[in-house]
Amino acid sequence: MVLRTEPFILNMGPQHPSTHGVFRMRLTLDGEVVVDLEPVFGYLHRSMDKISETRTYQQIIPLTDRCLDYLASMSNNLSYVLAVEKLADIKVPERAEYLRVIMAEMMRISSHLMAVGFMLNDMGAFFTPLMYMFREREKLLDLFEMVSGQRLNYNYMRIGGVSQDVPEEFLPALKRFVQEMPHFIDEYDQLLAENEILLARSKGVGVLPADLAVNSSASGPVLRASGVKWDIRRGDPYSIYDRFAFDIPTGTAGDVYDRYRVRIQEMRESVRILEQAIAQLPGGLHRARVPYLLRPPVGEVYGRIEAPRGELGFYLVSDGSIAPYRLHVRGPSFLNLTALRDMVVGWKVADVVVILGSIDIVMGEVDR
C-alpha cells in the first residue's frame, strides 16, 4: 500500500516574528520536517552600491551606517574608511587607530549580545535572556552616544581618523564596563548555557561541516563554529590588531550550540582586547588632515575587516574623481546565508528559526 502525499508549502516571512526583518523562506514541508528551502530576499533593497557612486567619499560613511548592518555601524564605518585609506594611502594617527579598535570591539560585544539574545528568543525563551543582554548593550549604546551623539547610526569614523576625540567621561565609563562585563558574561552562561532544553534544541542542530562552510564562503562566528580557525584580525591584520593578545575561539561540531558558544567566547576576547587598548591608548591627534573632497588616485582596492558577523569587505574602484566609480560590499550576513538550505533541510519548522537566528543575519546587509 502506498500513500500518495503532496508537499506542504509554507511561506515563512517576509512578515514573520523571527525572520530578523523582511526575509522570506519558502519551505517545503513533509509534516513538520523541512524538505526544501528557498530563500527569497530583496525586500529591503535600497541600492547602496549605486547611491554611493553619486556621493563623495566622505558622504558615503553615513550610508554605511544605515544601508548595511545597522546593528554594527561602527564596523561598517571602519571597513569603509580602511578601504578608502588603503586606496588613497592615508596615514592614520595612533590615537585614532586605538579609538577605532575600541569602537570596533565594543560594537562586536554589542552585536553579539543581540545575536545571542535573539537566538535564544527564537528558541522560545520569551525575552528574558534578551532583556539581560539588552541591559549591557544599553551601557554600550550610552558609551557610543557619548562619543558620537547617536545610539544606532554613529557616523563616527572619518577618512584619516575619527570624527572627534572621546569626551573625558568616556574612558572611566568604559573601564568600569570592561571590569563588569566578564561577570555579566558569566551570568548569561549561568542563565541558560547548561539548560537541558537549550542543549536539546541546539546540540547537533543545523550542522555546517567545515568544508561546506569554507566552500560556501561563510565567515565570522559561523565559520569558526565549524572549527575553521580563521579570523581576519589574525589572518590578515588590519589597523593595529597585531599589537593585541587575544585568542580565536572555535567550535568543533559547527552546530547551533557551537555558534552560541563561539559568540559568548568572542565577547570575552573582545573584553580582553578592550582592556589592552585602554591601557595602551596614546595621546595625540584623533584625525589626520584629509581634504574634504578627497580624490584618490585611479585604481581599485579591497579592504576588509572582521566585523561581528564575519568578513565585511569594501571593494572600491576610483577613477580619480570625488566619487567612487564603483563600490561593492561583501556582506557577511548575505554570504553566511548561502549554506542555509544545507543546514536546515531535514530539521523541523521550529529549528528553522533557531538555525536562522544562529547565523545572525541583518537584513539591511543582506539586501543592501
Binding site: 500500500m1 502506498v2 500513500l3 500518495r4 502525499t5 503532496e6 513533509d30
Partner: protein, 169 residues
Amino acid sequence: MGVTIAFWLLAIMCIISALAVVLGRNIFRAALLLALLFFSVAGLYIILNADFLAAVQVLIYVGAVAILVLLAIMLTRDVTAGGALNKFRLPALIFSLLLVMALVYSVLSTPWQISPQAPLETTTAALGEKLFGEGGFILPVEVAAVLLLASALGAIVLVKEKDGKWKSG
C-alpha cells in the same frame, strides 16, 4: 418532567447532528457534528444515570476519536468539496434503510424488561467491582485491548516499507 424535556432535546440533537454528518458536504464540519453527536449521546447517558459512562464518552469519543478524525481530515485536500454525491449513493441508501428497518423491528418486537430496582447512585464503584472484583470482566477487556493493539500495529505495518522508511509518492 425535566428529564423528559432533556431527553427529547438530546434525542432531536442526536438525530439532527447524525443526519448532518451523513448529508453534509463539508467533511470537516461533518466531523465536528460527529463530535456534537457524541456529546449528545453523553447527555443521554447522564439521563440514564450512567455518569461514569458519560464522562468516558466525552473523554474518549469527543476528546480523542473525533479529534483524530479531524486530524485525518486536516491532512487531506478538497475538504469542503467532498460530499455524499458519489456512485455508492443509491446502494448506501438502500442498505441503510434496510438496517433502520431491522433495528426498528427488533426494538419494537423485543419485550423490554424494566428493572424494579432504583438506579445506582454511584456507578463508578459498581463498575470497578464488575471490572476488577471477583469473577470480573478484566480478562475479556484485556483480550479486546490486545486485539485492538494488534490491529493498530497491523495498520502501521501495512503502510511501512521493508527498509523502515515510510511510503510516500
